[in-house]
């Protein structure tokens, strides 16, 4: 099959670029959002070679192509249509829009960071190891290989704003390349490297400045290396602006006007407003921190140890080098133990999550992230795990506070700066056992709290959204029937009625109801109702037909005790109330209440799997097997039985 040809034909049949809003794909389907579905020639689409089926659901046009091929067709589709990969995040953003603002912000931060985690985990581990090793063997710093490795280790951090900008542009639905440009502006080599600023100030060098806004004020021409928040704010603004411009600017000139104006306006605002405002905030934080650590009896250290991870989130932690350098010029570096406790505690909290979680994918992420934190690089642990779950972050903050207080009381002071965590021993040669106690306290407090407070549930919520990106839009998976009634599920062969049991009406299940309410078992259309209100037929957009027949022989009750909440032709959503019935009345009339839930066109499927036993409404109870392997992959926990 020719993927390019297939994509090209689909592109033409859906009404080309002007009718396309977004494109995404899942394991088997191309999922397109169009401006006007009526412009789509569904019949012809089905005839395209490589297309196994087409249907439209919740405004999404879904084209079944198949595992392994759909991604290739998707890539071709993107290249033909000139669209950019997006939308997983769009869908998530739509789902997240309902949450309160702080949660949305944390979620946005997580969404931006998760895709780039592999890059920063690699860099973090490498950086931690290299820095530690040079403390053990100082000569190593002169080796060529070390210099090359060092370059590798900090590349991701030096250019972090670019990685973040690209990822943020995807999350906020802007053009990722324009996002990259904003990131590049922020770390442009013509700006003074943010990491060098502290040193330059220390040496009394002047930071170059530029007059902006027609002479209104001056800004420091410094870059934003290692920064997070200003980049995200800048790109978020860029995406808003870009979308507005796409709406307003006439199409003829949109192609050059929009990117030009977007970059100009966003870039200027970033360097003259977002950045400086943020830098000022940074300075205030620094002043505040220096004031806090002067509070005696370990209290100040405890507060600083607690808020340290928050300053990492804000991306201002590299400014602490200034504090440390100043301390060293007058004595010992007492900031380092605080930072070390805080980092170690975040690592411990992350480690607890890694050990406890049953989600393998998450475990694989949390384990190396915690290791990196033990070596002093906490970004992967904080952004990848702790901040997303919130609780481990707080546990880590408490642990960090305890450790920092202990460190201050024991009077630990380092003789250098730059390393924390395990390698911190090397700069605290006079305080080996004190340093060990401090780390142990941080670890124990943080790990214990995190271990007991972390429950997989909250984390699964986050993960579920990630693994099933389209879930918020399409609540139902195709080929699945969700329990319409609360009760006990039995195989259809055990329904106390020959016709149902023999499968004359199709294969399925019986439910011995505990509650007299029938809910829609998936999104679909009511295909039939009866005057006697005891049965309803519903069909799904992809052609599954289901009959829900309440009780056996209840047709003879002529509607008494039943109430119908839907009509033929109604579009219904899973979970919508369809029928209520009076269990006692059915029993009093001498009939079985066992309700048949049958796939009347089960012949069209390869088979079906059912989940027996107690069910709550909308538990998945029937999974239809088709020739698409992806559909059945997700049903491992369903107790299978060939019906």
């Amino acid at each position: 099959m020719d993927n390019r040809k297939c994509a090209q034909e689909i592109y033409e049949l859906v009404g080309k670029r002007e009718n396309l809003v977004s494109a995404a794909h899942c394991a088997t389907r191309l999922r397109l959002v169009t401006n006007d579905n009526s412009k789509v020639d569904m019949k012809k689409l089905e005839e395209v070679e490589g297309v196994k089926g087409v249907f439209s659901s919740n405004g999404q046009l879904q084209i079944i192509i198949g595992t392994g091929v759909v991604n290739k067709v998707y890539d071709e589709f993107l290249s033909i249509s000139g669209m950019t990969a997006a939308t997983k995040a769009d869908v998530k953003a739509a789902a997240a829009a309902k949450q309160p603002l702080p949660f949305r912000m944390i979620k946005a931060l997580g969404d931006v960071f998760v895709p780039i985690l592999p890059a920063i985990v690699a860099a973090g581990l490498m950086m931690g190891l290299l820095e530690g090793m040079t403390k053990i063997w100082p000569d190593m710093a002169n080796s060529g290989t070390y210099q090359i490795f060092h370059l590798f280790s900090n590349a991701a951090f030096v250019f972090l704003p670019i990685l973040i900008a690209v990822s943020a542009a995807r999350v906020f639905g802007g053009n990722i390349f324009l996002g990259a440009v904003i990131g590049m502006i922020m770390v442009h080599t013509d700006l003074v490297n943010a990491w060098s600023v502290a040193g330059m100030l220390e040496n009394g060098e002047k930071i170059p400045q530029a007059v902006v806004w027609f002479g209104l004020y001056k800004i420091n021409l410094t870059g934003y290396q290692g920064h997070v928040i200003p980049v995200i704010i800048a790109v978020w603004f860029m995406c808003l602006l870009e979308k507005k411009l796409h709406e307003k600017v006439p199409e003829m000139i949109d192609l050059f006007v929009t990117p030009l104006v977007t970059v100009l306006v966003t870039g200027y605002l970033t360097l003259t407003i977002f950045g400086p405002v943020f830098s000022t905030l940074e300075e205030w934080i620094l002043i505040a921190v220096q004031w806090i650590i002067k509070i005696p009896y370990g209290l100040g250290a405890a507060v600083a140890g607690a808020i340290y991870p928050l300053t990492v989130v804000a991306g201002v932690h590299h400014m602490y080098n200034t504090v440390e350098a100043r301390m060293l010029s007058t004595g010992k570096n007492t900031w380092m133990p605080i930072a070390s406790s805080a980092n170690f505690a975040q690592g411990a909290a992350c480690f607890a999550v890694a050990l406890k979680t049953k989600n393998q994918k998450f475990k694989n992420l949390a384990l190396p992230s915690s290791l990196s934190a033990f070596l002093g690089i906490t970004e992967p642990a904080i952004f990848g795990v702790n901040l997303r779950l919130v609780k481990p972050l707080i546990c880590g903050m408490i642990g960090g506070a305890c450790g920092a207080a202990v460190g201050a009381m024991l009077g630990i002071g380092a003789t250098a700066y730059g390393v924390t965590g395990l390698f911190g021993f090397l700069t605290c040669a006079d305080f080996i056992w004190q340093y060990a106690i401090m780390l142990a306290v941080s670890f124990a407090v943080s790990f214990t709290l995190s271990w007991f407070l972390h429950h997989d549930k909250t984390e699964e919520d986050g993960e579920a959204a990630e693994e099933a990106p389209a879930a918020p839009e399409i609540t139902c998976e195709s080929g699945k029937v969700y329990a319409p009634i609360k009760g006990n599920v039995i195989p259809s062969a055990q329904i106390p009625d020959e016709t149902f049991a023999a499968g004359v009406l199709g294969e399925g299940i019986g439910i011995e109801p505990e509650e007299g309410v029938v809910y829609a078992p998936f999104d679909g259309e009511i295909s039939s109702t009866t005057d006697t209100k005891h049965a309803v037929g519903i069909s799904s957009p992809d052609g599954m037909e289901l009959l829900i027949h309440v009780g056996v022989n209840t047709v003879a009750m002529e509607g008494d005790g039943f109430e119908l909440f839907c009509a033929e032709g109604d579009k219904v959503k899973a979970g919508q109330k369809l029928i209520t019935f009076d269990i006692d009345k059915i029993k009093a009339a001498g009939y079985s209440t066992t309700t048949a839930v049958l796939v009347t066109n089960s012949d069209d499927y390869a088979g079906l799997e059912i989940k027996e036993g107690a069910c709550e409404p909308l538990d998945c109870v029937i999974t239809l097997r088709t020739d698409e392997p992806a559909e059945e992959a997700k049903t491992e926990e369903a107790k299978t039985e060939e019906a």
């Binding site: 009625d497 009406l505 009866t530 037929g537 037909e545 009959l547 027949h549 047709v555 009347t600 012949d603």
Partner: protein, 85 residues
Amino acid sequence: MKHFSYTITDPVGIHARPAGIIVRAVKPFASSFTITKGDKSVNLKKLMALMGMGIKCGDTVDIKVEGPDEDAAAEALEKLFKENL
């Protein structure tokens, strides 16, 4: 093409069970089946559609059978209607 008319005598009409029996009975035949009541016609091989007709006792329906095995099919179906409905 064969066709016959039938007046339903089953007191509850063509509800789920008889509809199932009819659909099962006609599926093996290659012919196409259409059932008409008033101005509504549906394919007899579609259970949901048949149930959606809401055919009651006393209704007269018209059934058309068309295809290579229409003779046998029409005969079998008429027998089924008489026995069950």
